[in-house]
């Protein structure tokens, strides 16, 4: 199941004002705690954090909302960001790289994932391979990329650890958005 959480709504609740800029640490922390509350009530497999309508995301908020949500690891679900603009990518990518974290983002109306933050280069390549071809085993990835199986297994382990793919038995599924 996918749960969409509209960050713009949470922002308006958090600051009690019609601001469209996600700035400052207290605001970020307030938005994050509302996301956590929503997830605690949900049993979704994927949480889509929808940034549509957000004008600006500064580094403090990118850190408080996205990085700390991933670091806390309180929810068992995978996170996907949507509705991000190019400059949002920059702030989120910057803070996640700093923490050596990563998250998947989809463009508005699109389905092609983009990884923000840091993952080992092999994991990045394996991620693209799974997004492109659908569910794959480690052997499939090895065949597709010409890697020894041990290398594929490690790349997939890194992705699963960061909840960027969904393991089910021998198969690794791409994140779902619909």
């Amino acid at each position: 199941m996918i749960e969409t959480i509209r960050i713009g709504h949470l922002l308006r609740e958090a600051v009690s004002a019609p601001y469209r800029n996600l700035v400052t640490r207290p605001t970020g922390a307030a938005v994050r705690s509302r996301i956590e509350e929503a997830l605690a009530r949900s049993n979704c497999g994927t949480a889509m954090l929808d940034f549509s309508g957000i004008e600006l995301v500064d580094l403090s908020c990118a850190d408080e909302v996205v990085a700390k949500l991933l670091l806390a690891g309180r929810s068992a679900c995978c996170f996907v960001l949507q509705g991000l603009r190019e400059d949002h990518h920059e702030a989120i990518d910057h803070v996640l790289s700093h923490h050596r974290l990563a998250v998947a983002a989809v463009p508005p109306g699109g389905c092609e994932f983009r990884l923000l933050g840091w993952v080992p280069p092999d994991a990045r390549e394996a991620f693209a391979c799974i997004c492109d071809r659908g569910p794959l085993t480690a052997s499939d990835v090895s065949r597709a990329l010409g890697w020894p199986e041990v290398r594929s297994r490690e790349a997939l382990r890194q992705l699963a650890l960061r909840r960027l793919v969904r393991p089910a038995g021998e198969l690794y599924h791409p994140l779902s958005t619909a």
Partner: protein
Amino acid sequence: MTRVIEVPAHFDDRSFDSFAEGLGEWPPEEKLLFDARGTQWASPYGLIGLLTAGQALAESRREKPLLTVPVADEVKRYWARAGFFQQASELFELHGKVPRATVTGPSDVLLDVTPVRASEDVHSVVDKISEGASRILHGELGLEMKATLRFSMALSEACQNIVEHAGTSGWVAVQAYTFRRRLGRRVVVIAVSDAGVGFRRSLESTHAKRFGERWGDGAALEAALIQGVSRFRDPGRGQGLAFIKRFLDQWEGKISIRSGTARLSIVPPWDEDVPLSERLSFFPGSQVQIIIPAQQERPQ
């Protein structure tokens, strides 16, 4: 006894050190009179630096200082338009005729002199700047559209430093003008100043040991701006200044931070400033200036 502190005729980051020198030992014992009668021009950095002096005196429980306003009408009008007198009237006993602030159409003052006391003020500042910033940065300075958002991010992070670290309130102002002598191009300048504890005291308990005898205002500025450290143990902290520095590199911009007795700058090729100045005259709190110049067309 009242001591007269002359406000420099051309009051900006360069003349600020002589202004601080005039203040002498801090906090001053005597009542102060800031004499701006002969001031011909003041940058946003100068204006909010002057307010910071007034704020620091109030917080040191010194007698309310006097301020004689500039004689030149156009200077007074600009100070009024920038919102300076409105804020100064609470900190100084103003002497001289103060004009009413009037706004006629788009202005080079992108953000009036604005107090920053809490996170809500940062929200207001960022909201207020967005439209004008795009007009100036993209329209006049030739920066790419996404520069507007980076600029707002920089402004947000710089203002948050006051709320998070200064231990008191501060001021921000943003203006576009032409750097005739130094650069010969239009620039946008963000100035942020507070009368708080400064970088050294803010970082002392967590980072002084590592620097040993080198620890001081200069080392604290280096730790914050170059090494990206923060007084918080949270590993996500300290990224704001690092990010500002990174995008200023792309635009040949300049950031300089003065705190206590030192000033550290990331100096672009067009400027002749020194990267680190130490043993300056003490001035309370921290003063940040970010300069973004108009982009030059690169040869094909």
